[in-house]
Symmetry: C2
Subunit: 368 residues, 2 copies
C-alpha cells in the first residue's frame, strides 16, 4: 500500500501522521485500535504505520475505518521500555521508533506519534530531527486538567531535560505560548513560572533571572505574564502555560497523576465499603461517570516535543485505544494548524533583534 | 496563670506545648478552638499560649476543657503572612512567633506549634534554636496520604531550603527515618529518593551520589532503602520516607494538594449537576464522607522542622479548629516519644565513625 507519501500534507487538506505501532506496553493491537477509533470520526487524515509488517497487516487489515488510509513501513526491531537512550541513539536504526521519526525527517508526515520509551524517543528525535535554530534545550509539553475555560493548562518541560537555565525557561515560555495558541486556540495565553512561592524574592537565582526575561518578552510575544505560580496553581484558572525545568515538571506531572488516581481509588473503595454504599453507587453512577470523564488521563494523552525540526507526540506507554486516539487527535490538530512553521517563526523572531520580534508580533497579532 | 513552667515536661508524664496563637489566616479564635478540641480528648498536655493577652484571656477563659491547662505569654506583635524572613529575623522580637520558639529554646516546652508564615518560622527557629550538631540543612517533613498501612508517607524537605546536596539528602533520610519511627511507629521504614525515573542512570549528579550514600547507610540506620521513586510513587505502598530537595518537595506537596482539591471540587460539581444527581448525592452521603475523611488535609496538618535543637510544628496557615487540633496531636506525640533526643542521637551517630553508628543502631534496633 503506497501513494500517501507523494501527497503534500497541506494544501489539499490531506494530513499524514507517522505512527510507531510497537513501542507501548499494550503492543500494536492497542495502537491500531486507537487509529481506527480516531479514523472512524475524522476523515482526511492518513497514517504511515511503523513496525512488524506481518503483525500490522493482520491487525490493520481487519479494521474497516482504516481502509485506504494507511501504509505500513516494516521495521524489524523494537525499542524496549527499559532501553537506555544512549544505547538507542547508537543502535536504534531498524526500530519502529526510529522509522517513525524518519518519516517526519523526510517530510512524508507532519507529526510522529509513539507510545514508546520517552527518553529514547527524545534522544532519537534530537539526533534525527535536530534542534530548531535558536533553541538550546527542547522541551516536552503536557496538558494538565484545570479550572480553565478550555479545561486544561499546558506545562513544560515535563522531562526532556533535567535542568534549564533562565534563557531555556524564556524559550519554554515562547514555545508553550505557541503551543497554547495552535493546539488550544488561546489567542493570548497567560504564562506563569513555577516556583515555591509567588513573592518575587523567593526561589533559585535562575528563576529570578527568568522572571525578568519572560516579563520583558511578554509584550512582543503577545502573551500575559502572571509571574510566579505555585504547585497549587497548576489546576487553577490563573494561568494557561506553566514554565518549569524538566526535573520539577516531571515530578509535578507524576505527582498530580498519582494523587488523582489515589483519590479515584479511595472513591471506589468508599462506595464499595457496605451493601448500602454499593446501592448508593448505582444511583450515583451518572455523576461518577461525569467525574470520571473530567479527570480521565486518557483524554489528555500526549506530551509534545517542542523545539525540534518536526513535531513528535509522546503518548503514555500504557495507553489503550482511547488514549492512542487522543494522542492522534492532538497530532492531527497540530498538523492542521501549521504549528511547526509558526513555532519556528516565533523562536527565530525571539532570537533576532528585539525590533524584529516586535514587528513580527504586530503582523501576527492573535494568530501567531 | 503560672506554674506550668516549673514542671519538667517528662518523667511525670506532663507535656508542655508552646503555641503561637496569632499567626494564622483565621486568627487566634481558630487556634484556641483547636486547643480546646485537642484538650477535651487528651489529658496530661499543657500549653503556653503566645499572643495578645487581652484577646487570648477572653478567648481561652470561656473554654472549659482548657481550664487549668494553659498559661498566656503576652506578645504585642504579630508576624504577617507576607513578611520577609530576613526582616523577621532582625525585627521579630516581641512577636508571638518569636515568643513561641523561645519557650522551646528555654526548655519550658518540648515542641512549638505555629500557623504562621513558614519562611519566617523557619528563619526564627534557625537563629533561636540553632542547627543540630552534624546537620547542614534543616528540613521540613510533611505527611502524605498514601496506600501504606498507616495511611501516610513522610516526605522531606518540603520547603526549608531550595536546594540540597548529596550529604544533605543523606541527612534527610536519617532524620525522616527517625521521624517515621517516633511519629508513626514504623519500626523499619522504607526510604526512597525522589527522581524522574527509577532507573539508576537517571537524574542529576547529586542524586546519583545520594543514591549510593543512602544505600550504604541503610544497614547501620536500620531502614530499607528502596532506591529511586517517582512522583507517581508518592501515594504508594512502596515507600514510607520520601527524600528530596526543598524546591522539588514543595512543588510536589502543593501539586498533590491542588490536584486532590480539584478532584474533590469536580466530584461536588458532578453531584450538583442535575436534580437526580443531587438525590443520588444524598444517598451516597456516607460514602462521600468516608472519602472526605481519607483525603481531608486537615487530618494530616503539620509540617515538622527537623535538624534543629528543638522541634517546631508548622500548621497550615488556613487551619481551622480541626487542623490546629491535628497539629497539636502531632506535637504531643513527638513530645511523648522523646523524639528530639532520639533524632539528635541518630544524627550524631551518623556523623561519627561508621563503627559507632553500627553499634548505636544495634543497641537501639527497632526503637531508635
Amino acid at each position: 500500500m503506497t501513494g500517501l507519501v507523494d501527497q503534500p500534507e497541506k494544501g489539499n487538506g490531506r494530513i499524514v501522521i507517522s505512527v510507531d505501532a510497537m513501542g507501548g506496553d499494550r503492543g500494536p493491537a492497542a495502537v491500531v485500535a486507537g487509529l481506527e477509533k480516531f479514523a472512524a470520526k475524522q476523515p482526511g487524515v492518513y497514517f504511515i504505520v511503523h513496525g512488524d509488517e506481518t503483525v500490522l497487516n493482520k491487525l490493520a487489515g481487519r479494521r474497516k475505518a482504516l481502509a485506504g488510509r494507511y501504509e505500513i513501513r516494516h521495521a524489524p526491531k523494537v525499542v524496549t521500555m527499559d532501553a537506555k537512550p544512549s544505547h538507542v541513539m547508537r543502535n536504534g536504526a531498524g526500530t519502529s521508533m526510529w522509522s517513525a521519526v524518519e518519516s517526519v525527517r523526510n517530510n512524508e508526515a507532519t507529526v510522529a506519534v509513539s507510545c514508546g520509551n520517552t527518553g529514547a524517543l527524545m534522544a532519537l528525535s534530537m539526533i534525527r530531527l535536530r534542534k530548531l535554530e535558536g533553541v538550546n534545550r527542547p522541551a516536552i509539553a503536557c496538558l494538565w486538567p484545570s479550572r480553565n475555560p478550555s479545561g486544561f493548562n499546558v506545562m513544560l518541560d515535563v522531562g526532556a531535560d533535567i535542568k534549564a537555565d533562565a534563557e531555556d525557561l524564556l524559550q519554554y515560555a515562547l514555545m508553550g505560548t505557541s503551543y497554547a495558541r495552535n493546539g488550544m486556540d488561546l489567542a493570548r495565553p497567560r504564562v506563569g513560572l513555577l516556583n515555591v512561592g509567588t513573592e518575587e524574592h523567593k526561589g533559585r537565582a535562575e528563576l529570578k533571572l527568568a522572571h525578568d526575561l519572560i516579563a520583558d518578552a511578554a509584550e512582543a510575544g503577545n502573551f500575559d505574564y502572571v509571574g510566579f505560580v505555585e504547585g497549587s496553581d497548576l489546576p487553577s484558572n490563573r494561568v494557561d502555560v506553566i514554565v518549569t525545568d524538566g526535573f520539577t515538571g516531571n515530578v509535578a506531572l507524576k505527582t498530580g497523576e498519582g494523587t488523582a488516581k489515589l483519590v479515584g481509588d479511595f472513591l471506589k473503595e468508599a462506595f464499595a465499603a457496605t451493601p448500602l454504599s454499593r446501592i448508593a453507587a448505582l444511583l450515583a453512577l451518572t455523576s461518577l461517570r461525569r467525574l470520571q470523564k473530567r479527570i480521565d488521563p486518557r483524554r489528555v494523552n500526549g506530551g509534545v516535543f517542542l523545539g525540534l525540526n518536526g513535531t513528535v507526540v509522546k503518548s503514555h506507554g500504557s495507553a489503550d485505544a482511547t488514549g492512542v486516539a487522543a494522542a492522534i487527535t492532538l497530532a492531527s490538530q497540530l498538523a492542521r494548524s501549521g504549528f511547526q512553521e509558526r513555532l519556528a517563526a516565533r523562536v527565530a523572531s525571539a532570537a533576532g533583534p528585539r525590533q524584529d520580534a516586535a514587528r513580527d508580533a504586530d503582523s501576527n497579532s492573535g494568530a501567531e
